[in-house]
């Protein structure tokens, strides 16, 4: 079976700064893969490079059986979509939810826009009451639902999730994570999810990669984290830190 996404020795360089150092990974169809690390670890850069938002210096990216070139065509965006971290920055401030969802349909020339918008809103649990609101009339969780609806409306097979819940309150985070799991089951999606929160990653992903300063630290199964079966000190530190403050005696 061809993997949904395979990346080979991917390197991203901004001016003199190497943001991503020859990272390789493969993600199977229907799998959920996690990237964990702190700021500057290159985890978001990897997602953005796949999406065509960061310059690829060397290495290759394959989506399905297709090798990606320098530019991404329309067909690529039918297959791969992304949800951003900041729900306040990822929705156009001058457009209604309706307009936001119409845009991708319009670009790809869908005919039954009315039905699709309605269905997309229902799928993320917003309903038609939100259809003509502007983004400033929505809460953070509602915005992220709109962003998910927008990503799903083109029916992609791979969803890139860049810290989709880190700007949300814990209770809203739970709702959005449940929604993401739901749509993944319903549509048999492949997830690549970035987060700094080990709890969220182990909850959402089967396999994960720990990253630091643009490079891979180690690769684990979610169950390895649960049983503390890690080999690198860095990962161990992250695990300890995720449990909260420990007062030294």
């Amino acid at each position: 079976m061809t993997p949904a996404l395979s990346i080979d020795r991917l390197r991203v360089v901004y001016d003199d700064f190497i943001a991503l150092k020859d990272v390789s990974l493969t993600v199977d169809k229907g799998e959920s893969f996690g990237l964990v690390g702190e700021s500057g670890s290159g985890k978001s850069t990897l997602l953005r490079a796949v999406a065509g938002l960061a310059p690829v210096t060397s290495g290759t990216i394959d989506v399905g059986a297709k090798r990606l070139g320098k530019t991404r065509d329309k067909e690529f965006y039918r297959q791969v979509q992304m949800v951003f971290q900041d729900p306040y920055g990822s929705l156009h401030p001058r457009q209604t939810v309706d307009r936001l969802l119409l845009e991708p349909l319009d670009i790809h020339g869908f005919a039954d826009t009315e039905k699709r918008i309605q269905r997309a809103l229902d799928e993320v649990g917003l309903g038609s009451g939100f259809r003509f609101r502007y983004s400033h009339q929505l809460s953070g969780g509602q915005r992220q639902r709109v962003a998910i609806a927008r990503a799903l409306i083109l029916e992609p097979s791979v969803l890139l999730l860049d810290e989709p819940t880190s700007a949300l309150d814990a209770s809203v985070q739970a709702e959005v994570l449940n929604l993401l799991e739901q749509v993944r089951r319903d549509r048999n999606l492949t997830f690549v999810m970035v987060s700094h929160d080990l709890g969220v990653i182990t909850h959402m992903c089967e396999r994960l990669m720990v990253m630091q300063t643009g490079a891979e630290v180690e690769r684990l199964e979610a169950s390895d984290l649960a049983s503390r079966n890690v080999t690198k000190d860095y990962t161990r530190n992250l695990l300890v830190a995720s449990e909260g403050f420990v007062r030294e005696p």
Binding site: G52, P93, F132, R133
Partner: protein
């Protein structure tokens, strides 16, 4: 919710609009109420509406012909009950000339806005979004235009094109787009790397579509404000060209040209120059007040809160 009777205001301000139209009207209403809260801005708007009204009904409003005067009996008469603002050296009624002159002023403003603003918007957003050498080339051209004082450049253009109101308009338009390009570029640079533009890119939108449909609407409000505030300057430049004899030609009742012809009598018959001067002052003030109000009302960042 829907079965309760809503007032018009509630319908406009609702959190759950039922249609595209309602959402748009609600937004427009919010903008208007922010604008209307500013008394001075409303006065400015009033002045501009008055100018439009006067220009539209000039033949009905003006008591005399603006072109034909009574050279024998009515030269340089002071303001009186028959000639409210007096007469000029050709014996023409100054009020009537002012009223007809408003049409010329309006013509200048509208044409300059129609020519200069889109050029600036296009150059600025294209340069800002494309970056690289396109940005460099477009902005150096802009810099060349900005390097000359506006009036001097306009004078050079008019000298090359020949005097006349149409050429004056073209000259002013050609000299006033560079600041708009700069504003549009600056605005584009602040949004081009935002997540919501990245999201549109991820939808597969072409650069053209991104610029036209997603970036331009964000630049337009600050551009409208700037153009409105510039109107006063444009009127003054047009009047300056008229004053120097390079704009509207006699006997056209252009306000700047009227001041020019009145300057010979400024000590003894001050009203000949003062009346068009006051007209320019009031209209410029109107545009400035309007622009200030629009700046607050159209502020994109405040959203609608």
């Amino acid at each position: 919710m829907s079965d309760a009777v809503m007032t018009r205001r509630e319908w406009l301000l609702t959190d759950r609009p039922q249609s595209r139209l309602q959402a748009r009207l609600g937004r427009a209403y919010l903008t208007w109420s922010r604008f209307a809260a500013n008394k001075l801005a409303v006065i400015g708007l009033g002045i501009i509406i008055l100018l439009l009204f006067v220009a539209a009904f000039a033949p009905l409003l003006s008591p005399y012909s603006p072109y034909i005067g009574d050279l024998k009996n009515a030269r340089l008469l002071p303001p009186s009950s028959t000639n409210w603002l007096g007469t000029d050296d050709q014996g023409r009624d100054i009020l009537s000339r002012l009223i007809y002159g408003s049409r010329l002023t309006l013509q200048v403003i509208v044409l300059v806005a129609i020519i200069a603003a889109p050029i600036g918007l296009l150059v600025g957003t294209a340069a800002g979004y494309a970056g690289g050498w396109i940005d460099a080339v477009l902005m150096r051209i802009t810099d060349i235009f900005l390097a000359f004082p506006k009036l001097v450049l306009a004078l050079a253009f008019v000298a090359a094109l020949g005097p006349g109101i149409e050429n004056a308009i073209i000259a002013i338009a050609l000299t006033s787009w560079p600041p708009y390009a700069r504003i549009a570029r600056a605005e584009t640079l602040t949004v081009r790397n935002s997540d919501y533009i990245a999201a549109v890119k991820l939808m597969g939108a072409s650069p053209m579509r991104i610029v036209l449909r997603h970036i331009m609407p964000l630049c337009i409000s600050s551009l409208i404000v700037r153009v409105t505030l510039d109107m006063a300057g444009i009127i003054l430049t047009a009047a300056g060209l008229g004053f120097l004899g390079l704009g509207a030609q006699p006997p056209l009742p252009e306000w700047g040209a009227m001041i020019a012809s009145g300057r010979r009598f400024i000590l003894d018959q001050w009203w000949v120059a003062a009346a068009p001067g006051a007209a320019i002052l009031i209209v410029s003030l109107g545009f400035n007040l309007l622009g200030d109000g629009l700046r607050d009302a159209l502020d994109t960042r405040s959203g609608g809160q």
